[in-house]
Symmetry: C2
Subunit: 217 residues, 2 copies
């Protein structure tokens, strides 16, 4: 029974890693679509979001199956329920990559991001990709310390978002309201993506240490 | 055992209703803060978000306790796991009300919403409040038909968001980029709030009919 349960957990963990990798690949491709006005990359991200959603369904089914067959209690039950929360965060990361891709597609063939904003979005995409890579690794091999360090990377993301707003709100901003709004929304998509990774990291810390995260927002 | 399980479900349902009512009250007060530049209303929403988060924690604890004690399977297990998803949507609705309140506070004593945008935000707040009231009722007494009708109200919300963008992107928009960005983000907060209500409605339909919702985004 115990071995079976461990096999169930391993399977759930593999699904979460696959989902994290899919959400990472999606944001990477969405960034390409955004920064190079590549319509086919944008379309690919939008079509493939269904794949992330499908893995989400598999996690839910596997968790329900595990609870029904193994009747886990206490820490074991906490572990499988936490997997549900994690998959919800990863699913939402896929959606946010899709939002970036849709913005790129809507403005195509114009670039959605003017030259002044390229450095900050390149930076945001780099931080997002690094964090997504770390969380995919951690989901395969949980470790409280690097999980807690994701907050530091998230601070970098927040600093980039503040820099973005400085550019958007500069008196000399030459591009008008539509490009400013797109810039602000895009910044929010990257920032939310990083927040969901921090949430996943907090869930992992909770699993390992038993200490709940204090900040849910 | 069966009676005990039903009592557990009733308790979970009561918690979800309380949470929905708290998320509704939060958005109502956040709208007041926004449209009347009322700083103390904004502060109250921001402080009280911890209450919604606390009920979220209670739902999680009650679900874990119910699974551990009752070892539900099949439809019963689906019901308690669905309660977790619903509470996550309601928690996020509280966060979105808090985002509206924070925008109002940041711009205080100036109003965050210029006169041209008041009608559209009044409309969005009205639709959000109506939907939140309906979902609170449905959580106490699930019914597939009105739950499915929430999509119609959500269409009204989407139409209001399109109208908002028409105003923001009009060539004669006189308020500059910052107010345009705030308007776009605020519109998104109301629109996401309504989306989460639609998600809750879909979860309820799934519970009643066994038919999964097709659209997760």
């Amino acid at each position: 029974m115990r071995e079976e349960f461990q096999a169930d957990l391993d399977e759930i963990s593999r699904l979460l890693v696959t989902m994290a990798e899919a959400a990472r690949a999606a944001m990477r491709k969405a960034t390409t679509a955004l920064l190079t006005a590549d319509r086919s990359a944008a379309e690919a991200v939008i079509e493939r979001d269904a794949e992330v959603d499908a893995i989400y369904g598999q996690v839910e089914a596997k968790v329900a199956d595990t609870i029904a067959r193994q009747a886990p209690v206490a820490g074991d039950l906490r572990t499988v329920i936490t997997a549900l929360h994690i998959s919800a965060d990863l699913e939402r990361m896929g959606d946010l990559a899709e939002h970036v891709a849709k913005t790129a597609r809507r403005r195509h063939p114009s670039p959605a991001v003017p030259a002044e904003l390229r450095p900050v979005f390149t930076g945001m995409a780099e931080v997002a990709d690094r964090m997504a890579g770390e969380i995919a690794t951690l989901l395969g091999k949980p470790d409280a310390e690097p999980a807690a360090r994701l907050e530091t990377a998230d601070d970098e993301m927040d600093a980039l978002e503040r820099r973005l707003f400085q550019v958007l709100l500069d008196d000399d901003w030459p591009y008008g309201a539509e490009t400013a709004i797109d810039g602000a929304l895009l910044g929010r998509f990257y920032e939310r993506y990083a927040d969901h990774i921090v949430n996943v990291g907090e869930q992992l810390v909770y699993l390992i240490t038993g200490e709940p995260a204090t900040d849910r927002s």
